[in-house]
């Protein structure tokens, strides 16, 4: 099998059991890139979360868009692809506050709310978090290597760091 670099764009989710695949989200600001990996079987998923909570009345919106629906949806997808829920490890990054000094406007706190809602949903599902790089005021890109479950995070002009 040959590998593919899957771009996981805003409100998208990709799951792979192909060990040559790499899952990538580029330029996360207030958005969250959440990876779930089971390296014992070589299954990984990445979701690009945009907002913390789905609207109350079933909006029919993409479940990958909201932290509270994206986390259960990704767990479901990776377990269907062969991962075991008990072995899943989460890595998340993003949730930045890109425009400094935005005061108290709730709109501008989206990054922090995204990170918090994602952690809440992971805790509720009892998924342990292996690595986390959230908050701050810089953008990030995330790369998930299905082969070994490695997750690399990189900011502008920075070396990639393994989480």
């Amino acid at each position: 099998m040959t590998g593919t670099r899957h771009m996981v764009r805003m409100a998208e989710q990709v799951v792979s059991a192909n060990c040559d695949d790499v899952l990538v989200s580029l330029g996360l600001g207030s958005c969250i890139g959440l990876a779930l990996v089971d390296d014992a079987v070589g299954v990984a998923g990445l979701v690009h979360i945009v907002l913390p909570q789905a609207p109350a009345a079933g909006a029919g919106a993409a479940s990958a868009k909201f932290a509270d629906t994206a986390v259960p949806s990704l767990i479901d997808a990776v377990t269907r692809a062969g991962a075991r829920a008990a072995r899943l490890r989460a890595v998340l990054c993003g949730g930045a506050h890109m425009f400094g000094n935005a005061g108290t406007s709730p709109v501008m706190q989206i990054g922090a709310r995204n990170a918090e809602a994602t952690m809440d949903a992971l805790n509720a599902a009892r998924i342990s978090v292996r690595g986390k790089d959230t908050g701050g005021s810089s953008g990030r890109s995330i790369e998930v290597h299905v082969a070994n479950g490695d997750v690399l995070v990189r900011g502008v002009g920075q070396q990639a760091r393994k989480l």
């Binding site: 580029l26 919106a61 425009f99």
Partner: protein, 198 residues
């Protein structure tokens, strides 16, 4: 819930007219500031799935100087200037500053202020809506990272996002950049009603 296609051709061309007039006004103000002719492209109305929106604006990992001006009032929106770093440097150079200095940063914010102020004035003139720009905010980072919050605001309740994009360039200088008007979700309908087409 609203799904694509949310708007008629007539509605989209009315929205495009906002960008035509708004950007025209903004370009005049910029031209006076730098003392050069400003070229503005034909504004495009982008109505695309959220997943495709960011890459319509540019390469996601390109470093840009982004000036964001939130607009409050009847139709909440964001105005965003996204200058690729080389263009930000040329623009600051024309004004006698360095894009990587504190003065350069203030200068970029001031350009944002002038452009969004004149854009908003045009918009208020066309629609009669009460709109008030907030102080501009600057970020120098990956394009994808600086646009995701404003796109998120526009797509909170829908899976498509609508925004207006215009390419602006300064004649005789290697400087071109994007100027975006991104109304929040419900604001599009408010704008259309005010323009008399909804």
């Amino acid at each position: 819930m609203a799904v694509d296609p949310r708007y008629t051709e007539l509605e989209l061309s009315a929205v495009q007219e906002i960008a035509n007039i708004g950007t025209g006004n903004a370009a005049t103000a910029l031209g006076m500031l730098v003392g050069r002719q400003i070229d503005i492209g034909v504004p495009s109305v982008e109505l695309v799935p959220l997943a495709e929106a960011a890459e319509r604006i540019g390469p996601l990992e390109a470093t840009v100087a982004a000036v964001l001006t939130p607009v409050r009032g009847d139709a909440p929106a964001s105005l965003l200037l996204a200058l690729p770093m080389p263009s930000a440097e040329v623009l600051c150079g024309l004004l006698g500053t360095d894009a990587n200095s504190e003065l350069g940063h203030s200068c970029l914010q001031e350009i944002g202020n002038i452009l969004t102020g004149s854009y908003t004035t045009a918009l208020v003139g066309m629609t009669g809506l009460a709109l008030e720009p907030e102080p501009p905010l600057l970020a120098i980072d990956m394009l994808g990272a600086v646009v995701d919050t404003v796109l998120a605001m526009s797509a909170a309740d829908a899976d498509t996002v609508l925004f207006l994009q215009t390419a602006i360039s300064i004649e005789g200088a290697e400087c071109s950049f994007g100027f975006l008007f991104v109304p929040q979700d419900a604001a599009v309908d408010t704008l259309l009603r005010a323009l008399g087409v909804a």
